[in-house]
Symmetry: C2
Subunit: 478 residues, 2 copies
């Protein structure tokens, strides 16, 4: 039998200091949402101030069979941070200190509640940065980014979170609330099995991260940017290949498909004009070589059929020209369209953000198939992504609570993910599995005859979390 809510709140209050437990239902509801349209519930929200308190909370919950749902800004999109009424939200909001910035040793030590944006503000003073930049960077926290295995626009150069975590302090959901340090302060580190990478991307299901040592890197010296419109998507892909072959230091390679460009430019008032598929690439250069590289890439783009090439010698110039605006706002045209199309004028519009990858060579086929699926089902979508590494983010918007649209969306989504798997891609790239992609992950593994991987994961889960009290039901069914 679970204790009463009141008792649990009182008991938790005795662990964390006063004012660090919330039981007010309307406030809990705010914490029980994620950045998608998903909603959960919880007994309480508890805000630990340090690792020892986290360990005490874990011991208490273990003993009393209370589930633990770790969370910080809950900016994720798959439901991985979503709590249920059988447990408490452990929010890392108040563990948000940057403990150490070490330029010589190229690392920072931070608490999980530090926001990526704030970390970068601090690091920029030294000419350094933490390069992982999810679209949610202004609110996303270090702990959330670690658990989600976050990526971003610069992934083609810097990869994802797994490449940037040196050391973690974690609390294991066992009867002792065991505190462990895994990994090293140095970036090279061999300690047997890579437990650090096992936690990165585990979506808060294995352990609670209470401190992270992250690798940092110098800001790029100078960044040039080019953008262009292509009638022919094959031409765009050929340009991409030629750019890759020129020994350049590619920072960003983004794509918006022709239909999304059309929709977006109807709404977005900017100086960038054109039609066709939009391609943007940023390349790190020295100031001395930027003119040459700009010409080189311009020629590659034009040779492969680009129209209206835009160029910027610095990132500031690119921003003031609005070169990234179509890509960043590729769903506002769709929003406009869906608002106009809705049957119930009072209905809220909700987003479904997909997070697929296909090898870049399969981009033309992927776009064709996704647009064909759209046509067949009739729910409009918008399509853009990080084409340098093949990561695409189709967005479908529907009216909230419109059962018919939700059903159609589910069918569309399922067909899109099937197509992605057939093209040798993956159903999740940087958003994770959460609640939303559990079936899709199994479909992907089945296509590789590798469903047994789920059994291995379950066994690992059992090792860390014998009572299944930590963020249960995410990634796979236990």
């Amino acid at each position: 039998m679970l204790k009463s809510k009141k008792t649990i709140a009182k008991d938790l209050s005795s662990i964390v200091s006063d004012g660090n437990v919330i039981t007010d239902e309307s406030t809990i509801k705010v914490y029980a949402k994620n950045a998608s349209h998903m909603e959960g519930n919880a007994i309480a929200v508890v805000f630990p101030n340090n690792t020892e308190e986290v360990s005490e909370i874990v011991k208490y919950c273990y003993k009393n069979n209370i589930k633990i749902y770790p969370q910080a800004s809950a900016s994720e999109l798959t439901g991985s941070s979503l709590p249920r009424e059988d447990g408490v939200i452990v929010s890392f909001e108040r563990m948000n200190k940057i403990k150490n910035i070490n330029i010589l040793d190229s690392y920072v030590v931070v608490e999980p509640g530090v926001r990526l944006y704030d970390l970068n503000l601090e690091l920029s003073i030294y000419g350094f940065m933490f390069p992982i930049d999810p679209a949610s960077i202004k609110i996303a926290t270090v702990g959330g980014a670690i658990n989600t295995g976050a990526g971003g626009m610069r992934g083609v150069k810097y990869g994802t979170m797994k490449d940037w975590v040196n050391e973690l302090e974690i609390v294991i959901p066992n009867e002792y609330g065991t505190i462990l340090k895994i990994g090293c302060k140095t970036s090279k580190c061999r300690q047997g099995y890579d437990l650090v990478r096992l936690i990165v991307g585990s979506e808060g299901t294995l352990a609670l991260v209470t401190e992270a040592t992250l690798k940092i890197t110098p800001l790029p010296e100078n960044v040039i940017t080019l953008a262009a419109f292509f009638d022919d998507i094959e031409g765009l892909v050929n340009a991409l290949l030629e750019i890759k072959k020129n020994k350049l230091d590619i920072l960003i390679m983004e794509f918006v498909d022709d239909k999304s460009v059309e929709l977006t430019l109807k709404v977005l008032k900017i100086n960038i004009a054109g039609n066709g598929h939009y391609f943007v690439t940023s390349i790190i250069t020295s100031p001395e070589s930027s003119e040459r590289v700009l010409s080189l890439v311009e020629n590659i783009l034009k040779r492969n059929g680009a129209k209206n090439v835009y160029k910027a010698k610095t990132l500031d110039e690119a921003e003031s020209e609005g070169i990234f605006d179509i890509r960043r706002n590729y769903d506002i045209g769709l929003r406009d369209l869906v608002v106009k199309m809705r049957k119930n004028p009072a209905s809220k519009i909700i987003d479904y953000n997909e997070d697929i990858s296909v090898p870049p060579s399969k981009l033309p086929e992927a776009v064709r198939r996704i647009r064909e699926i759209e046509k067949r089902y009739g729910l409009p979508l918008t399509l853009a992504g990080h084409v340098g590494d093949g990561n695409l983010h189709p967005v479908i918007k529907i009216e909230e609570k419109n059962i018919e649209q939700i059903e159609t969306y589910e069918k569309m989504k399922s067909e899109i993910l099937k197509a992605v798997i057939e093209l040798g891609g993956t159903v999740s790239s940087e958003h994770g599995i959460g609640l939303d992609k559990k079936k899709d992950l199994i479909m992907e593994l089945k296509s590789k005859n590798s469903v047994k991987a789920i059994d291995i994961m379950k066994s690992i889960k059992q090792t860390f979390d014998p009572k299944n009290i930590l963020n249960p039901g995410k990634i796979f069914e236990v």
Copy 2:
């Protein structure tokens, strides 16, 4: 009861085709050695030709309780590839095909027996490379590099193997010889727990790798190199920090300590001359900016007390000037010294290569303490490493079978590793744990109050390898 050697060899021959099983004892002895001074033994060496054969071998060994020791070039230094007489060596020498080079999608698909050097020869045709470059690159294989979690001289820029593996095909040592594909062809990939990174660095104890999809990257456009001698190691470290702060694209940052420089230059006849601590750094630049960056870094070096600065505008120039020679050959002076010092003129000299890391800021203290330990015990050592990421490789050479020297070495090693841990470093950086570092890993984890990590690893081992038949006794005692 184990079957007889003869029966086992016959049974294995029926799985792999004729000529793919070796039972000749003197040949087995050759395969049962690693690149250090360690020797093992085995029932037979079996050479599978494809994944299905690997799976059949596993099934057979599982059923008959025969241990499996996976291996390719056995160029490792910790004993992780060392077999025992209770099992067979499964050599991946003959699974050495490059199956696919895909520049547009930036990956290669290779069998585990492909040598890193050969892979890079092929990739250079396209202006691409696989950047992990252990000193053993000419013989090291992909499978070995994955299992060891290999790094190298370019680690300050490119990290280690964990950062370059997209997808793996593995065979699990269970009764079915289960074949699994884990990870994706694309570099962004979320499939729940990161099983790919769990295999990378697992030293062949969890599964047999039968195919790998590796990320590749363009060759650098142009590389400049500077080298200098410092009387004062603090000056060297300050120079390193200043270089890091200049938003440069650092490829290599190496170090040889003053005593090693002195010993080495007694033997090595090159044009680079000087005394003090040797520092070499290579930086990726455009051709247009190389003059400016050369001056910039030269000024930083001189400002921090560098003498005799050497500069090269290209890697070819650096090689012909011999800028890397002191670093690459930092142990030949020691060899000469030890040969002269030996008591038994016929004795063989054997190497002990350490593989520690300390945060670069702790380099001066690390060098002081290691030299103090040397003085106390009297066995001479040589010291160099990848100072950009803090990874140092002290080498101690002794006479083979000289019990007194071996005992002294063990004491020295133990004290060096203790000092490293006190300085916030790690006892293994890119060579792994194997047999050699098992106790040291526990010492390191103890210092962080994290020995429990070993229990987690054992439980993971049990999940993959329920009968403990795959490379038993490595990393930890089961």
